[in-house]
C-alpha cells in the first residue's frame, strides 16, 4: 500500500512538473510562394474546362521573423534600476517589432514586465507593469493596434538570472516580447 502510494505521488509530481510554464514552440508559417488553386468538380458527370498555362512568378522563402534566430529574434528590452524609461537603442528595436506587427495585424504580442529582486514584491508587480505599459505605448505610437498587444507583470517572481549582484539584477529588469505561434 505504501509503495503504491509513493509511486502515485511520484507520478503526480511528475505530471505537475510537466505541465504549464513552458514557452510555446515556434512554428514555421512558411507558406512558400506557390499558392494552390483548386476547382471542385462535381461527381455528376464530367465537365471539361480549358487548361491554361500560366507562368508563375517564383516566390522566395518565408520564415517567421519572430521565431528564434529570426530577424526579430531580439525580444528583450532592458531597464535601469527603478525606471520604466526606454532608451534609444531599445526604441529602434521596438520600431522593428512595431513594423512587423503593423504589417501583420493577425499577429499578437504579449509584453511581460519584470524587475530585479530588490524591494517589496507587490510594489515590483507595479514596476513590471509600468515597464510593460511603456513598451506598449511605444508600439502603439508606432502603429500597432491595441488589440494586438497584451501585457502582464511578473514583478520579481520570474527572474532570468539568479544572483544578488548587479549583473543578475540588470538582466532581470526587462520586458520580454512574447509572440504566440
Amino acid at each position: 500500500m505504501w509503495v503504491i502510494r509513493q509511486w502515485i505521488i511520484v507520478g503526480l509530481v511528475m505530471v505537475l512538473a510537466g505541465c504549464g510554464g513552458s514557452s510555446g514552440t515556434m512554428m514555421d508559417d512558411g507558406m512558400g510562394g506557390t499558392g494552390s488553386d483548386t476547382s471542385a468538380h462535381g461527381d455528376q458527370g464530367a465537365s471539361a474546362s480549358g487548361v491554361g498555362d500560366d507562368n508563375y512568378l517564383s516566390g522566395d522563402e518565408y520564415a517567421d521573423p519572430t521565431a528564434a534566430g529570426g530577424a526579430l529574434g531580439n525580444r528583450v528590452i532592458y531597464f535601469a534600476f527603478d525606471k520604466a524609461d526606454v532608451d534609444e537603442a531599445s526604441r529602434a528595436l521596438l520600431a522593428e517589432h512595431a513594423r512587423y506587427l503593423a504589417d501583420n495585424p493577425g499577429r499578437e504580442v504579449r509584453l511581460e514586465g519584470h524587475t530585479d529582486e530588490r524591494g517589496s514584491r507587490e510594489y515590483n508587480i507595479g514596476l513590471g507593469e509600468r515597464r510593460a505599459q511603456a513598451v506598449r505605448q511605444i508600439l502603439m505610437l508606432d502603429g500597432v493596434s491595441a488589440a494586438q498587444i497584451s501585457t502582464v507583470s511578473y514583478g520579481e517572481e520570474r527572474p532570468a538570472a539568479l544572483g544578488s549582484d548587479e549583473e543578475a539584477w540588470s538582466l532581470n529588469r526587462r520586458v520580454e516580447l512574447v509572440y504566440n505561434p
Partner: protein, 442 residues
Amino acid sequence: MPREISKLMIVIKKCLSGLAAFCLLAGMANAELRIEITGGVAQAVPIAVVPFGWSGEGELPFDVARTIRADLEHSGRFKALAPNEMLERPTSGLDIDFDDWRILGIEVVIVGQLLHTGPDRYTIQFQLFDVFRGKQLLGYRQPASTRQLRGATHLVADMIYEELTGIRGIFSTRIAYITTSGKPPNTHFRLIVADADGANARILVESNEPLMSPAWSPDGRKLAYVSFEKKHSEIYVQTLKSGARKRVSSRPGVNGAPAWSPDGRKLAVTLSKADGNLDIYILDLRSQVLTRLTRRNSIDTEAAWSRDGRTIYFTSDRAGQPQIYQVPVSGGKVRRVSFEGTYNARPRLSPDGKQLAVVHNDRGNYRIGLIGLEQGFMQVLTKGALDESPSFAPNGETLIYATREGGQGVLATVTVDGRIHQRISSVEGEVREPAWSPFRRR
C-alpha cells in the same frame, strides 16, 4: 479497489484538474522548517521541563516534554536544562525536591504525566513551579485525542508561557509561506501551512507559475493568495480544512495584494484594470461590489487595514519613491505616514494598532523597520541587505520576515524590541513571503 487507494485517487483527480494542484496532501518531510536562535539569549530564564511520566502500555505516543521545552526555548526567553543534567525526574509536585533544582540555578520547573484515559483518549497533566519559593504557579489537565496530541502540547506550552510572561503564547499558531524549488524557467512554487515551530507542513497549492501574497482570514480558516497559474495574476480564497477554493478576482491586468478587513467580509485588492495603473479597491466578498479607493497615476498597492476597519495603510510612489500612506475606507484625504528614508513599502499593522512594520531602505540595504504611528519615528530592526515581507505574530511580540543567507531565501524572526533573532531555514529549496496566522479561537 481498496478504500485507501480509492480515496487517494479522488485526491489525485482533484489535483490534476487544472494547472495548479490545490489540495491537502499529507505532511511532507522535505518542506519542514528548522529553527535556530541566532542572537540575544543573554537574559533567558533558566527553566527545566522534566520528561513526563507515561502511564500507558507500549511506547510513548508523543514526547510532550520535549515539545514544550523546544517551544519555550524558541521564544528566546527561556534556556531549558537538558534532561541528562537533571538530578531527579519527578512527574508530580509531590516528588519535587526543590534543592535539586536550586543547585542548578533553575528558576522554574515543569513536571507532568501523559495519561492514557481511554481508546484514542489522553490527558496531558502538568504542574508549573516557582523553584525559589517552592510554590505551584499553575496546574492543568488538558485532554486530547491521538491526533490532537501535538496541538494540545502546544496549548500547554502557551499556558505556561502566558503564566510566566503575562503575554499570550503563539505556539498553537501557524505560518503560511511560499517555497520554490528548481531553477528558472522550471521553478516549482508551493504555498505551505505549518505549525509555528515548522512541523506539520502541508501543501495548500502548488504550481509551475508564481504564487504570492498569502493572507490569513481573521478567523484563521482561509487564505487569500495571488496565483499566476492562468499565465496572469488572479486572487483566490482557499478554505484550509477542505482545500476548496474560490477565484475572487480575475480582472484584466494586475490582481494583487489581497488584505482581509477585520470583520472578514471584504478584501482590499490591487487592480490595474484596463488602464495599466495600479490602484487599491475594496471588494465586498458577498455582494461582489467593488469600490475604488485610489485614483492617482502612481503605483498604489499593498493595502493593510486598521483594527477598526476604517483606515487603509498602503504603499504609493505618488511622491516619486515608495512611501506609506493612509486613506479612510469611506474615501477621503490621503495622508503620508512614513517620512524617514527614500523607500518605505509593504506596511503591516501591529496587533495593538500602534506600529507599522515596513520594508525600509537603510543606506542601500532593504531592512525591516517599525514606524511608531503616534510619533512617526522609525526603528530599524534587522541587519540584512534584502529583508522583506514582515508579518507580526498575533501577540505582537515578534515579527517573521524573509531574508537571504548564503544565496538562499530563508525566513527569520526578530522580537519587536530587536533583542532576539531566529533563523528558520528549509531543508530543501527556498522560502519566502511568510504570513503568521491569527490566534486559534479560544
